[in-house]
Subunit: 409 residues, 2 copies
């Protein structure tokens, strides 16, 4: 018997029609003999509606009560999907976090799962029942309702799959898999059949928001076979795998990008210990995430330090840096909020030289100036002017031969 | 320290403005030094919205899942009210049925409360917290979510008050108390300061839907002082009391009525044992509630049997009776679905003779023909033609001197 955990996101259960479509799919797979556990998100729009209500009674809604409020969204979907499955002749049962006991810590709004008591689910599966679990929610040790934060339903699904040792965890969303590049930019981008967890993590952190980083990490840690599929189409999706050897023939998995970046440079920073710390401590204290950091070793004991932040934090960061620069007796603070980051991702580059050269040449051939470079073991990222985003992604996609046969129309 | 349990119904928490008004009221009473437990219903319209969704996925929604779905309504309100109270500087916490452990049987949709574990609520009250409880819901022994059926939030409040030995249980609704008659029919009807549980039960069963019968019974059994008030106005409301002696000076508490009644007569029924049973067994099997029953002792071993049912069940009852009458070799079945029931209610009539005479005379003076009469220890009910409803209620209200001073405008 194959045990499959499926997760359906907000757009996949957006209305009764979509919930019925999900029920049809689950019903088919159950009838084909699979044991089925289904994790659901709130109907899209529902969480926003609840958040709006909350801010109407409290400008800064208290986290414990906010969790109680928004946990109702997933509860609704879970009950409705169970009904739809019963209507199709399956014995289905919905469970909330307090019932299958998804025990979390007590950090409301971004709780972390500590343990899942899978006894009840196993018992139901043993009786042939389809188990529907409200995603995104759990309870702390005192029985308070908690929520897991962004992408929480993915995490619920992966944690369920890990606890049940499921054969596969299928994440249904509105895209049919992971692509070699954003198909809106590169029309001949190809869906990947497989990708490694590490590549997936790089892609997720680079703005390819198919899966939340946290659930991918979770899957990696517990070796849960994870598959991304579309609930709007049929198709095999993309399997996120741990078997690196199977990937040897693939050099590069895809080209990712992040819009809405901004870059800041502090010039003539005294090059002595503790200076970098002072700079980033102030930025961090303001809750600004720093992404790429480049430091040029300079002459005369002075150095230029450049880093990128999210564009929304640009003004705040600029203001802080000007103060810090003065305190450090550094030079100017120069900024540019019209940049983007493009990355080449692939585990294959570990064992292949010349990837960077190929990438830089492809961009150079198009006359694209590279402003910053940052590399990791499986990724090369460059910062370029915003207007070159599409051209740069296409040039790299083509340079690494990622184009596939055009999708059947 | 006075411990007050309050319950706010759907219209009292219909929107954010109303929830804020409730928070203001609770806040005032807490600040005045009372320990406060607040039970809330779903925002009016919310339960209907959820029911609509349910019937869209399942023509006959499975009860367990329906309970999971509609329990979210009260959860929403409880969280929002807690936030509104925190916004007013109070430490407030919302609890669901599974958290304060409102243990019920497993009859989904009309579960009965078995036990409430009040430890958590007491602990919170001891810390000065306002406790907000989602009404209408509980959990069975296996942790499944259950709902208590119509008027369930009233029952939650009364059960909470009983478990906590509260000083008073205040039911806030959209009327400011119990009246001597329906003010829409009798403009000078007077709000009663107090009424006995028994009178309240008679009024509730007679269609004066201020409180559900079940919660009044519950209050009576556990001697919970119950008060009905309006959340839209200030005012003392009506206290439902167990102290009969205080009521001695009041003869009659009010005039109630039930519209939408119908009456059925089976003529020439053989007057032998088991016949009545046969008649009512068939009616009962069809889930039709029978109200008043009158049997005239007849001559020749034959009798006429008349009873009333809700008008919605009239056609069904007529059809069944015709079949049964034939099987019993009885005579005709005659029906009338244009009747109403008017009742005089008051514990005072126990010790006073002549109430029936006064009532009959008042109706007779207005030329109203009485079709059926039924009496209990604290109630006299008559069935009259539908068109006499208002006239009859007013005549009786006046005959027993129930009119009060006109309300201040």
């Amino acid at each position: 018997m194959t045990l499959i955990v499926q997760k359906y996101g907000g757009t996949s259960v957006a209305n009764i029609e979509r919930i019925n479509a999900v029920a049809d799919r689950v019903s088919r797979m159950r009838s084909a003999g699979n044991d089925m556990v289904v994790v659901v998100s709130a109907m899209s729009g529902e969480t926003d509606r609840l958040l709006r209500l909350a801010t109407e009674v409290h400008p800064n809604p208290p986290p414990r009560e906010l969790d109680v409020l928004i946990a109702t969204g997933e509860q609704e979907t879970a009950a409705l999907l169970s009904m739809a499955l019963q209507q199709r002749g399956h014995d289905a049962r919905s469970y909330m976090g307090h019932q299958v006991h998804i025990l979390t810590d007590n950090v409301h709004g971004k709780a972390r799962i500590r343990m899942i008591d899978d006894a009840r689910v196993r018992k139901d599966l043993g009786r042939g029942r389809v188990v529907v679990v409200a995603g995104f929610q759990g309870v702390d040790e005192e029985g308070n309702i908690t929520t897991l934060g962004r992408g929480g339903s993915d995490t619920t699904a992966v944690a369920m799959a890990a606890a049940l040792k499921a054969d596969e965890c299928q994440i249904y969303t509105d895209v049919d898999g992971v692509y070699t590049a954003d198909p809106r930019i590169v029309p001949d981008a190809r869906r990947l059949d497989r990708i490694t967890v590490e590549e997936m993590l790089e892609l997720a952190s680079l703005g390819a928001k198919v899966l939340q980083t946290r659930s991918v990490q979770f899957a990696g840690r517990y070796k849960v076979p994870l598959r991304v599929l579309s609930s709007f189409d049929e198709g095999p999706g993309t399997l996120i795998t741990f078997e690196e050897h199977a990937m040897e023939d693939i050099l590069i998995s895809g080209i990712a990008y992040a819009r809405d970046e901004a870059k800041l440079t502090v010039t003539d920073v005294p090059d002595r210990p503790g200076v970098a710390w002072t700079l980033f401590a102030e930025i961090g204290a303001a809750n600004i995430d720093v992404d790429m950091i480049v430091q040029n070793v300079g002459a005369d004991g002075l150095t230029d330090m450049t880093f990128t932040v999210h564009r929304a934090d640009y003004d705040k960061a600029l203001k802080i840096l000007k103060k810090v620069a003065q305190a450090l007796s550094a030079g100017d603070v120069i900024g540019d909020d019209k940049i983007v980051k493009i990355s080449v991702v692939g585990v294959g580059m570990r064992s292949h030289a010349g990837i960077a050269a190929t990438a830089f040449r492809a961009l150079s051939d198009e006359g694209i100036n590279i402003q910053m470079i940052s590399t990791s073991e499986i990724k090369i990222s460059v910062v370029v002017e915003e207007k070159y985003l599409e051209l740069g992604v296409r040039a790299l996609h083509s340079a690494f031969g990622l184009a596939g046969p055009p999708a059947a129309g």
